[in-house]
């Protein structure tokens, strides 16, 4: 399986993602944002970080990068794209995912482990996943998912919610919502379910001795589903 990680100026989770993808069997290459063409891929990842120093709005400048045109073509042909944290913000700013990511409700940068509940397995990312509650890491200042009432209705009708913030038992309510996200949303799909944006970092949970192993489950499942 071939994957690419796109690097923007200010990306800082790109190498962690490279390590994670290779660990689970992807043949990964790094792509510079100013490149015009994407190589042939089974998966493209937009990594976390602070592209362009979060100037203007998080992800807004990176969303105008040269590589985005071929990313859109790749998505339109059914290719899988995963955006983590700043990658999620970039996908939202390109309009490839709906809604917006606002400043965290309590105005704090949040850096901690959280539990997320996978909504359903009818997609390439979570099909046949061993657990539906994962312990993952979040580290962000703008992860407060927001959209209008009409939009959230569309998102729910199309089954586009991917992950909710929850507790270790999968209960979803305000108490387990770290950043004020609408309906505890931690990740969403596009309509076609080939684009996934999520705030938590699975690449930080791939070593049970250092951090945790639920990120491993995420990558193993993804690889199996792509085979």
């Amino acid at each position: 399986m071939k994957s690419s990680v796109i690097i923007f100026p200010g990306s800082n989770c790109d190498r962690d993602m490279d390590v994670a993808l290779k660990k689970f069997g992807f043949k990964n290459q790094m792509i510079w944002h100013n490149d015009v063409d994407l190589p042939k891929n089974d998966l493209v990842v937009l990594p976390g970080g602070f592209s362009y120093g979060d100037y203007l709005r998080c992800g807004s400048i990176a969303a105008k990068s040269k590589i985005i045109h071929s990313l859109i073509n790749y998505i339109n042909s059914g290719g899988l794209v995963l955006g983590i944290c700043n990658g999620f913000q970039i996908l939202i700013e390109t309009g490839l995912l709906p809604g917006a990511l606002l400043r965290n409700k309590y105005l704090e940068f949040i850096c901690k482990n959280v539990f997320v509940k996978i909504k359903d397995q009818k997609n390439n990312y979570f099909k046949d996943i061993k657990k539906d509650i994962l312990k993952l890491h979040i580290a962000h200042n703008e992860g407060n998912f927001f959209c209008t009432q009409d939009e959230i209705k569309l998102i729910e009708d199309n089954d586009q919610i991917a992950l909710y913030y929850s507790n270790d038992k999968g209960e979803i309510n305000e108490k387990f919502n770290p950043n004020g996200s609408l309906k505890n949303i931690a990740g969403i799909f596009n309509k076609e379910k080939n684009v996934l944006g999520m705030m938590p970092h699975p690449e930080r949970m791939i070593d049970k001795y250092l951090s945790g192993s639920d990120g491993s489950i995420f990558f193993e499942t993804l690889l199996n589903n792509l085979k």
Partner: protein, 83 residues
């Protein structure tokens, strides 16, 4: 031609920074401050002499980059009379 643009969060979008500023002002004794909304201000110089064209260009700039229309409104406030 100089153009000024103000961007604010839409009315129905929570603005926690504005809220904190409002409460701070209340705490400082400005009891009559009822609401604060924080926004962004831009000054743009365009090599354009036609007012309408400049305004159209500013609109396009707002829609395509400066504002995220999901959460923000923009206002082109300076009516281009200055140099």
């Amino acid at each position: 031609m100089k153009i000024s643009i103000v961007i604010t969060l839409k009315k129905n979008v929570l603005d926690p920074q504005g809220l904190v500023i409002q409460k701070t002002l209340n705490g400082m004794g400005f009891d009559n401050v009822e609401k604060v909304r924080q926004g962004k201000f831009f000054e743009i110089e365009l090599s354009e002499t036609d007012k309408k064209k400049a305004k159209d260009k500013a609109e396009e700039i707002c829609k395509k980059l400066l504002a995220n229309l999901v959460i923000e409104d923009y206002k082109i406030i300076d009516s281009l009379n200055n140099s």
